[in-house]
Assembly symmetry: C2
Homo-oligomer: 193 residues x 2
């Protein structure tokens, strides 16, 4: 998605540890008009699939998933990090290693909101080593639901998450794939329009 | 908002500790069509204000804030819980007591995304003792920005948060205010249409 690559080049900042900050528009401040364009693009890419639910994980995926869900006309379900007092005992659970936070956390989802009838599109802001997506796939498997695809805003193509998921036959589509990045330069992988 | 009261009566569940579960449509599974109605209602209530940013706190406020922001044509900024590795040192910080999680956490917001030029509408899913909103107000004060109002989906009117905020002159508008609730019954405060 050309407009996204341009936005990353204009507003993104590379930080030590291969961290790309895009917090001016994607995951701290959110440019809602731009995220609508992202939602439309996900619908262009996955609109031919039979999607009944969009699944993401808190926190930064939620807004993107909600805006995107409008184009699919389906609900969002977001997996939660760690047990909170107002969740049932009846939960799907898995563990996810956070790249950004450098720790492992429990991810939970109420069984009520994902069943074997569901066809799921996973949406998230970043894909790096793929831990968050793998956690969501495990929850989908526990539910006996069907994965229709994985829509990612920014994939770090120099990390292995995307490759591993695609090698398992998962339909991963990333709106921008970063081939390499340094303090002064970000290069993207060529993509079909 | 009559449709919201009806939805709470139909889908809400009261749990021990004065917890109201509305996770089928608001804060775990999200009924995006219904949340659009909520966004329109917030715009009806606050659309005459000069709002430049919508502010919320992760996680369950984010989706509601994003959908609502579409009606205002402004960005969302969400405050984050706890320090993460990809945030700057240049932060507004405050502490918030979580009613649901029973603990105190740090809330942070990058100084880049809130300045003295901003006119802020706070949006959140619940208002009970008001701790989350007070934390956001403190951040707005640190920024020297202007509070235009606070839009809440569900207020627990039997707790003191709403009263205290309104007594300070804050324009708090809640789409449903619960007067009392038991295992079998939820009563709402009468509201003007």
């Amino acid at each position: 998605m050309r407009a996204l690559e341009e936005k990353i080049l204009k507003e993104g900042q590379v930080r030590p540890g291969n961290i790309l900050k895009v917090d001016s528009f994607l995951n701290h401040q959110m440019d809602i008009a731009f995220i609508n364009e992202i939602g439309k693009e996900f619908h262009r890419l996955f609109g031919n699939r039979e999607v009944t639910k969009i699944l993401t994980v808190e926190a930064s995926g939620i807004g993107i998933a909600c805006i995107t869900a409008q184009y699919f006309g389906v609900p969002v379900v977001f997996a939660k990090k760690a047990q909170s007092l107002n969740l049932d005992g009846s939960l799907y659970t898995t563990k996810v290693q956070s790249y950004t936070h450098g720790r492992v956390y429990d991810v939970i989802l109420s069984k009520k909101f994902l069943t074997s009838d569901d066809h799921v599109l996973i949406i998230d802001d970043f894909l790096a080593n793929g831990c968050a997506v793998c956690g969501l796939l495990e929850i989908i498997e526990q539910a006996g639901a069907t994965v229709e695809g994985v829509g990612i805003v920014i994939e770090k193509g120099f990390q292995d998450g995307g490759k591993e998921l695609r090698s398992k036959g998962i339909d991963v589509k990333s709106l921008a794939i970063i081939k390499s990045m340094t303090d002064t330069d970000i290069e993207f992988e060529e993509q079909d329009d």
